[in-house]
């Protein structure tokens, strides 16, 4: 294991101390718990949006807490769900009477803890609704969408639901737009190398030199196909062959494209990927509206990338374009 850390077990809390030291005007923590992170600008009467999940995915999840996006985030250990109590504390801190929407990825531990937190919050008189990100087409076949994992596409849910919430609309409307995004986004990834949980000290799985795994999850969940590493264009083509028919994305559609690096893949390679996506979508008569290229949901030092497509309409375009200002995402 080669990491720039002190003791493995203190990595998450030391990372958080760094976050608070770097962004004191944007985020703070509540209940004396570094892992209960809230925006420094919780607006009275606005629907609160909370997320949460394991560490090891920055900018996910906490990186999107701030103006125009999220209000709170519970931080777990590396690849571990935070607890329901921590979620409850964040919920209480960000509720200002209009209720709270949970947006998080579809993973067993997270679902159970958010469910439990929602029940506890309900018992304290806070209205809570939930929308799950579950858009990884490689993780379960069409027809079984409820079993799919949530990956980088959740960024779009944060961005668009956050933008609408900032317009001071009701909880039901914010939930509804988050559901619309969830229904119109699809992602697929490819991994070229493994990642190491600091406390484990060695990679949880292995990908041999010169090999790749298409469809692998952001915690190393098995993908759909292992094979020799081929040219980037061929990988993009194979991924789009799974993504496009799944919604389906059709001629005349307008989409935002998100090319996400998994942690160890340089931006140069992401742009090589995007070049082929743009070429291919143009051939299919699908227009790209607003591409995002960079790191949005990583898996520590994993090499690889994912492609997400979001089908847009006029309302989604407007909300996607609205400004946001968070520690990891700024748009003017």
């Amino acid at each position: 294991m080669r990491k720039l850390i002190n003791a493995p077990e203190s990595m998450v809390d030391e990372m958080l101390q760094g976050i608070y030291a770097a962004h004191p005007d944007q985020v703070r923590y509540v209940s004396g718990d570094l892992r209960c992170l809230v925006s420094a600008h919780v607006k009275k009467g606005k629907v609160g949006i909370a997320t949460g999940g394991g560490s090891g995915h920055l900018p996910l999840f906490l990186g999107y807490v701030g103006e125009g996006m999220l209000d709170g985030c519970c931080v777990g250990g590396v690849f571990q769900s935070p607890s329901a109590m921590q979620m409850l504390e964040v919920t209480k801190a960000i509720d200002s009477g209009a209720g709270v929407l949970y947006i998080y990825g579809n993973y067993g531990g997270d679902v159970m803890n958010f469910d439990m937190a929602a029940e506890m919050a309900g018992a304290e008189g806070i209205r809570v609704e939930q929308v799950l990100g579950a858009e990884d087409v490689a993780s379960a076949p069409k027809g079984n969408e409820g079993k799919r994992r949530g990956v980088a596409g959740i960024f779009y849910m944060y961005k668009i639901a956050g933008a609408l919430a900032a317009e001071m609309v009701a909880l039901e409307q914010v939930k509804s737009v988050a559901q619309t995004v969830a229904a119109n986004v699809r992602t697929m990834g490819v991994a070229l190398s493994a990642c190491t949980i600091p406390e484990a000290g060695k990679p949880t799985f292995e990908i041999e030199e010169e090999k790749m795994e298409i469809g692998m999850g952001i915690h190393g969940e098995p993908g759909v196909r292992k094979g020799p590493l081929v040219a980037a264009d061929r990988i993009v083509d194979e991924m789009l062959e799974s993504i496009l028919p799944d919604l389906p994305y059709q001629r005349g559609d307008e989409v935002s494209v998100l090319i996400n690096g998994l942690g160890a893949t340089p931006k140069e390679e992401l742009y090589v990927f995007f070049r082929r996506v743009a070429e291919s979508l143009s051939k299919s008569g699908i227009h790209i509206y607003h591409p995002y290229i960079g790191e949005f949901a990583t898996s520590m030092e994993m090499a690889g990338a994912s492609i997400s497509l979001l089908k847009l309409d006029a309302e989604l375009k407007r909300l996607l374009d609205s400004p946001a200002n968070t520690p990891f995402f700024v748009q003017r």
């Binding site: 690849f79 571990q80 769900s81 329901a84 109590m85 921590q86 531990g109 159970m112 803890n113 439990m116």
Partner: protein, 209 residues
Amino acid sequence: MKALLTIEDIKLIFIRCSEIMNKNRQALLDLDAACGDGDLGLTMTKGFAAAAAAARNYSGNDAGKLFLAAGMAIAGSAPSTMGTLIASGFMRVGKEAAGREAMATVDCAAMMISFLDGIMARGKSKPGDKTIIDSLMPAAETLRQGENKPLAEAWADALEAAEQGVERARGMRAVHGRAAYYGDASIGKDDAGARVGMLIVKAFAEYVA
């Protein structure tokens, strides 16, 4: 031989359970590494250590509140899937057993059924899915059938049923959590959750023996 579990007894059972999890730490780690994310031994020892501490610190005389405190302690210290499921189970017991000061066999049967209900409601799973339910449900049913037996005998039968449940779960195909990604390859492998369920039953059975 005991005819009733008092609040003091229940506290000692949580402490026993924590000891049992410590003893089985490595076995659970190995089992979970085979088809999960390999941290079950850590979360269970952490979770039950917290439950034992919460039980030790409980000074009231309400079994419901004691179970609730233990459940909350597990939820706060072991927010993994299994930790949250078990926490949900104990919190449900906490609701159902509210106000009770002692438990006979018939109350233990009711407790196990609430425990199971809490887990099933949270995990949305059913018997045969290769989970903790596959050891807990046979134990709960055995306790209910033996609700007129003395504690020691009823719990010994329940432990046997739970152990058989672990055996049967081995032949099942996983449909939940990470183990489900392995599909048919999960058949023939021991289920770590079913084993945890059996270990909880074991804590009661050993204590009342």
